[in-house]
């Protein structure tokens, strides 16, 4: 390397070619670990580097991260099981999304992955029944703010978040994978119809739909926060299952462009590389905006993507109203 890498590429290269980390000096290791923690990928890195002859201090730290991820997996699967038990009486299976789905099905993308909330997908016409079943099983509303609540119910693709009163864990109940205000409307019924059972009452999306969801979440919804991790998911899913039929499925959901971009960017970061267009480079600049202390960098690029994420989600007049309400409420959003 001509000059030391000082952004998210340090992490991307370590994941792509673990053996190269053996050339790192102590400062390089410190930067890699801080970056991986900030991107919530320390568990992923720890599994990826397992067995390498890294310095002892690093080996200990990575062993801790693996133990922590293993415990996170237990807790995530138990939340899924709790939701299954709560929803069994109303006959709605739990369709797991994102991290919990990966660990439930033992996918490569789930190895060491940090998992926050439990995300599930349910049929839109059963959402009231699901809400009632969860509340009777001990989940409670998180947000008392009436604007937020109203906003969720009218415009979002999910219920306002619920938290379990004894276990302190959140559940996000989705009825589709993009906000209703977004300009793209994926086939939510099709997602459910093509889902596959991993055990009785517990299902995950089909492999192509998991990729479509990851891409939708990254490029048609969010501001790319957590993007390095999401693209690692994409890389692992493609590596494990290939892309057979993916383009057709993505087109069916109206997300062909987003899926194609996810494939290019994940290959650029973690795989064999890809032919990138100018916009792709801008995305990568945002995705890797992280320094060796784990700090967010490139504030203007981040701000641009933050505004874009809202633009995608809402019609302009609504966006103005939303940002105004948020601003008045003192929420500035996590843009820097």
């Amino acid at each position: 390397m001509a000059r030391p890498v000082t952004d998210g590429w340090l992490l991307a290269r370590a994941l792509r070619t673990p053996g190269n980390t053996l050339a790192l000096d102590p400062a390089g290791w410190a930067a890699l670990i801080a970056t991986a923690r900030a991107e919530q990928m320390i568990g992923t890195l720890a599994y990826r580097l397992e067995g390498l002859r890294v310095p002892q201090a690093v080996a200990r730290l990575l062993a801790d991260a693996r133990a922590s991820a293993a415990q996170g997996r237990v807790v995530a699967l138990w939340e899924a099981e709790a939701a299954r038990r709560a929803m069994a009486p109303i006959g709605v299976p739990v369709v797991l999304l994102k991290g919990t789905a990966f660990v439930a099905a033992d996918l490569k993308a789930g190895q060491g992955r940090s998992i926050g909330d439990l995300d599930i997908l349910v049929p839109r016409d059963r959402i009231d029944a699901v809400e009632a079943a969860l509340i009777s099983a001990g989940w409670e509303w998180v947000k008392p703010d009436p604007y937020d609540d109203d906003y969720y119910r009218r415009w979002m693709h999910e219920l306002p978040p619920l938290i379990h009163r004894e276990r302190d864990r959140m559940i996000d109940v989705h009825h589709t994978i993009l906000p209703l205000t977004a300009r793209i409307t994926p086939d939510a019924a099709g997602l459910l119809a093509w889902s596959v059972e991993v055990e009785p009452g517990v299902r995950i999306l089909s492999r192509n739909d998991m990729l479509v969801h990851a891409a939708a979440h990254l490029f048609a919804d969010g501001d790319l926060a957590g993007g390095m991790r999401n693209l690692w998911d994409v890389y692992c899913l493609v590596d494990q299952f290939g892309t057979n039929g993916l383009a057709e499925r993505a087109a069916h959901h109206g997300l062909g462009r987003e899926v194609a971009r996810a494939l290019r960017l994940s290959a650029a970061l973690y795989g064999q590389g890809a032919r990138l267009n100018p916009a792709d480079h801008l995305y990568l600049r945002r995705l890797t905006a992280r320094d060796g202390w784990g700090r967010a960098t490139r504030p203007f690029t981040r701000l641009g993507f933050y505004v874009r994420s809202h633009w995608l989600r809402m019609p302009p007049a609504m966006l103005v109203r939303h940002l105004w309400t948020k601003w008045r409420g003192g929420h500035r959003g996590d843009i820097v």
Binding site: A30, R37, A57, A63, A65, S68, W293
Partner: protein
């Protein structure tokens, strides 16, 4: 970051970065006899930074960041930058430590055996540990006991001793040759002054010890002591641990082993002299 200081406290390495020189200079001076992180790689990072670039110079206030952060943590004035650094290090341990079961406790050692003192803030566990450290005991730490699930041993974590309010005068009188940090008046926790652990504590910080007695001291009452049942010790220590649940089965095994093999007593004490005598008597009777 502009200014950087790395240090190892017991088994744990830290890298502290700061937008200002002053907190780093204070740490360099107070931690002067401490080694650096194993292999040069820190376990945790702490960042002291200005909320907005201009707040580096205009009414400078220190935000605490790091690998693990609590939302809504309030900034401290730059004059309390040393406290900010110490809080940042504690926070990394409280939120991020996964190798050792972390017990909010002070620990001293004699003959390879550890006395663990836990209880609410203000119970005097820091002060007692500091005083015992001058009377034939080795101070292992005043904030966290690091219980190793693999061995059942307690590892030392002798960071600067954090003395609050009345304890400052007590320690200054009892440890006249001690090295103290600057007096930090008016912090969110009252007046604070740090005491550097003595040479024996620093030189011995890589020696783990076998836990032999758990004490729940309580200051401000007539001298008394009582037996504490294992189940009560268990529940109280789960609540005195910031990572018990996150440690999973390793935490369960470590803690049940501790409470079923190590005796526990609650002691009330009216003044520190009495407390020290009570501790010595209990220790003799083990």
């Amino acid at each position: 970051m502009r200014h950087v200081f790395s240090v190892r406290i017991g088994p744990i390495g830290f890298r502290i970065g700061s937008d200002w020189r002053a907190p780093i200079a204070q740490m360099e001076s107070l931690y002067t006899d401490y080694p650096g992180p194993h292999d040069g790689v820190p376990d945790f990072n702490v960042r002291l930074f200005a909320a907005r670039p201009w707040r580096r110079v205009i009414r400078p206030s220190v935000m605490i960041g790091g690998d693990f952060v609590l939302p809504e943590a309030a900034p401290l004035p730059l004059a309390q930058g040393l406290l900010a650094a110490e809080m940042g290090m504690n926070l990394q341990m409280a939120l991020g430590q996964r190798r050792y079961l972390l017990l909010h406790a002070s620990v001293v050692e004699r003959d390879g055996r550890a006395l663990v003192m836990t209880g609410m803030s203000g119970a005097g566990k820091s002060t007692l540990a500091a005083l015992l450290g001058t009377r034939g005991w080795r101070l292992m730490g005043d904030e966290f006991a690091l219980l190793d699930p693999a061995t059942g041993l307690i590892h030392a974590f002798p960071r600067l001793i954090s003395l609050k309010n009345a304890a400052i005068g007590v320690a200054e009188a009892a440890v006249p040759d001690g090295v103290f940090g600057p007096l930090l008046p008016g912090t969110p926790k009252g007046d604070i002054r740090h005491l550097v652990p003595n040479a024996a504590a620093i030189a011995g910080m890589d020696r783990a010890a076998d836990p032999a007695l758990i004490l729940f001291p309580r200051f401000g009452f007539e001298a008394a002591e009582r037996y504490v049942a294992p189940s009560e010790v268990f529940v109280r220590l789960t609540q005195a641990s910031t990572n018990y649940v996150a440690m999973g089965e390793r935490g369960f095994d470590a803690l049940t082993r501790l409470v079923t093999t190590v005796p526990a007593r609650a002691i009330d004490y009216p003044d520190t002299d009495r407390a020290l005598a009570q501790v010595e008597a209990l220790w003799r009777d083990l």
